[in-house]
């Protein structure tokens, strides 16, 4: 008995000792910190493979991310530059259209300079170090990760197989847009003698798979381009360490806080800020109701808009939090109906918004001045989902111009530009006539897929500036050195000191469209002027543009 009790004491003290050691945690934390410091101080892990021909596999296009035995992440290379297409033989084909001619020769179109540097902006100071430039006559070599003498590999991670979560409808189309951009750039001569190669990885909308994709791609591609993946909200601990430039889709506000991310479209908060400002200055309602999806990004959007509306003396009389799985929105229609706002702003998801619209329609009720909804409501393919109700009463905000009917003369400088025509021509050339249907409308006019095209073009332009000595560090500096005109309405710039937010808004402007009835009785969009502009002094706003300046 006494022996058993003694062993009990020994066990108790041992347990307490182990608990104490575990809880103190000092040593292990210190160790990890040291490890981090060491890592930070030493050259980047990929530096060795950036030396010319250090690793033949790194320069082999097919190896890229396609590690065997890893079903979680399945990279593929749809845009391997074929020998036949590596010459700019198709230049003539590209120049069949005025847009093709213009893009191939870099001649600015009236009011649009696709992919070329715009005028410097007062809010976009140059980078701390010197901006790299090409050394004339120097031969190409494997100057950094994912770069060889004749190829630059770029990567994208998309939720392509997430069947009910933007997968086939958007992520698959995103890859096709990127593919079209890469093929167009290669056909037009490539990037200073190198061809682009797109390496894709499907994360199925799963962050863990997304991380696996990233791990595979980071040592094989030079940079990442706009990708539909939730990963862009959680990978910020890795990008600065790995020094991987990522021209990202811009969905999350955290992307704007990452020095290695270059968001390529306005996120929800920015849209909310712009649309609230536009509503206050253009529509001038006395009262507003707000509905939003009950997730952090859209709650933040609601808060930004509420603050801005209050500052303009507009009362927010009702806020309704929607759930994406809401089976019925009648109760929210009732809530809005009871509050009776002049206008409703929506920062939500298409499904509950569509239900709200249908229920409001069956209740024969609408706010006096209508609705303004985020870009998701403005995707041209979505018209029928919202029904007849949305016509003539629903405004949407989007980051890029959207082509509309030729009779919409207001849209010439935003939507029906040469670059828009080029985008459409190249998508059809790459993907065939299926793009004439739903997918084409989505691919061409959805602002995330548009961002894919725009930012691949910008990446190529920036890389071209460095010539043979293409490096990730250099790419970052070049991207931050100036403003980039998309050619489809907006100009992007990423301040070297801070890519973030409201004082350094990476978009100079956005666009407002209104749902109307198409000539065939279907759904169409119409450009509504003036445009919302974050800061009239900060971008390449055409003098003739009608804008509302948000200071």
């Amino acid at each position: 008995m006494a022996l058993r009790r003694r062993w009990s004491y020994v066990a108790l003290f041992s347990t307490l000792a182990m608990l104490g050691a575990a809880c103190s945690g000092g040593s292990s934390k210190e160790a990890s910190k040291k490890a981090d410091n060491t890592q930070a101080a030493s050259p980047a892990p990929n530096a060795s493979s950036s030396t010319p021909s250090a690793d033949p596999s790194a320069a082999t296009p097919t190896t890229a991310a396609a590690a065997p035995g890893s079903p979680a992440a399945t990279p593929s290379s749809p845009s391997t530059p074929a020998a036949g297409s590596s010459t700019p033989a198709n230049k003539s084909a590209a120049s069949n259209t005025p847009a093709g001619k213009q893009a191939a020769s870099n001649t600015p179109a009236p009011g649009a300079k696709p992919g070329t540097a715009a005028a410097p902006t007062p809010h976009a100071p140059g980078p701390a170090g010197a901006v790299p430039s090409a050394t004339p006559g120097k031969a190409n070599y494997a100057s950094d990760v994912g770069v060889s003498a004749d190829t630059i590999r770029i990567g994208t991670i998309n939720m392509t197989s997430a069947t009910r979560s933007l997968g086939p409808a958007l992520a698959g189309v995103q890859e096709q847009n990127l593919d079209a951009a890469v093929k167009y750039i290669n056909r037009s001569g490539g990037v200073s003698g190198r061809k682009l190669q797109l390496v894709t990885c499907d994360d199925g909308g799963d962050i863990a798979r997304g991380r696996a994709c990233y791990e595979k791609l980071k040592d094989n591609v030079f940079a990442l381009v706009p990708s539909l993946t939730w990963l862009t909200d959680v990978i910020h601990d890795r990008l600065p360490k790995d020094k991987v430039p990522w021209l990202s889709w811009g969905w999350f506000k955290s992307e704007y806080e990452d020095p290695w991310m270059f968001p390529c479209h306005a996120n929800g908060m920015r849209e909310a800020s712009q649309v609230a400002d536009w509503t206050a200055k253009v529509l001038k309602p006395a009262t507003v109701g707000i509905m939003y999806l009950n997730v952090s990004e859209d709650i933040a959007a609601k808060d930004v808009a509420t603050k801005q509306l209050k500052a303009a003396g507009i009362k927010v009389v009702e806020t309704v939090a929607q759930e994406w799985d809401s089976p019925d929105e009648s109760q929210h229609v009732l809530a809005m109906r009871t509050a009776n706002p002049d206008f409703i702003l929506s920062f939500s998801w298409p499904a509950p918004v569509a239900k709200f619209m249908h229920d409001a329609s069956t209740q024969h009720w609408q706010p006096k001045l209508g609705f303004a909804a985020n870009h998701l409501t403005g995707d041209p393919g979505y018209g029928p989902i919202f029904g007849e109700y949305i016509k003539d009463k629903t405004y949407t905000i989007t980051s890029w111009g959207v082509p509309t009917d030729p009779s919409d003369t207001d849209n010439a400088e935003g939507g029906n530009t040469a670059e828009q025509q080029l985008l459409r021509d190249e998508l059809i050339r790459t993907n065939g006539r299926e793009y004439q249907g739903f997918k084409w409308r989505y691919a061409g006019y959805h602002h995330i897929t548009q961002s894919g095209w725009v930012c691949t073009r910008i990446l190529a332009k920036a890389a071209e500036q460095m010539g043979a000595d293409l490096t990730r560090d250099g790419q970052k500096k070049v991207l931050e050195s100036k403003a980039w005109d998309s050619g489809i309405g907006s100009t992007l710039y990423w301040n070297a000191a801070d890519h973030n937010a409201n004082q350094n808004y990476s978009y100079n402007r956005e666009f407002i469209y209104k749902w109307i009835s198409a000539k065939d009785g279907g759904w169409d969009l119409k450009r509504i002027l003036p445009d919302p502009v974050f800061d009239c002094k900060s971008g390449n706003i055409p003098a003739a543009a009608k804008t509302i300046c948000n200071s």
């Binding site: 069947t163 009910r164 997968g167 086939p168 409808a169 009950n294 709650i299 009702e318 806020t319 309704v320 939090a321 759930e323 799985d325 089976p327 019925d328 009648s330 109760q331 929210h332 229609v333 009732l334 809530a335 809005m336 109906r337 009871t338 509050a339 298409p350 499904a351 569509a354 239900k355 069956t362 209740q363 024969h364 393919g381 979505y382 989902i385 739903f438």
Partner: protein, 299 residues
Amino acid sequence: MVIGVTAAVFESAVIIGIFTGTIYAMMALGIVASFRINRVVNLGIPGLAVFGATVYFEMSNVWGAPVLVALLGGVAVGALFGAILGLCNLKMTAWPRGFVMIFTLTASLFLFGWSDKILPPIQVSPASPFGDSGGFKVALTYVSNHQIGTFITCILVTLLMGFVVSKTRIGIYVRAIYDDGDSAATLGIPLGYFVVGVWAVAGALAALAGILVSPRVTLDPYLILFVTIWALAGSILGGLESFGIAFVGSILVGLSQGILGGGIIHLGPGLENLGAIAVVAIAVFYAGVKRRDLAHIQT
């Protein structure tokens, strides 16, 4: 908490809540039916609902079949897959109930995937069997023919199922199998036919629910899965055994959502479902304590 609520607003919220509850009740009936024979919580119900609605959508919207034919087609396919699930249940008689329940969940996921393969990559909303237009105004809200039709169908099915279980020879056999399957078999009741038959009925009810629910909530597997979760909550009030109490429980869940979401009481974002969650909590507690009593309520 109640702030200047007019009678019209309250009436509207109640009406909205009842019709939201009807959506849950339709889904709850299939859950109760399959549980009523062999005590397995059938998580295949949302899959059967989605697949039945998918067949209905394909037949009516894509092939152009008359609505009634498409309705029968969807329900028949639901019954067929329900019967297959019932047959699998028979083979798993010796398995722990929890494992069988997980098996039914995998069946749902399989049917979700299959439906995804068939449906276009956008959210679709099938035509209502009761017509897409028409209705009347009550207080501040508008009640559509579809909502009325669904409500009446739901009540009729609830009454019919309650009648069959409590008043017919089939019902007696079903109750006997539920109480003690082995003893029922020794009495000569054909256990296999009844399990497969009742699960087929559950499948048909699920498909009917999917067809009636999807014109309102859209034909999206995950949305219907969430509807099923609220339906499960409603049916728990009756210990998963009573069609009538499952109907009432589902209506209570809908009512709480209608009243809290209709702007009558502002609880803040995310808390709108608090009333529904309270109903669920009370139901679980009540059913747990009174389960023996409720087991003998045959509505």
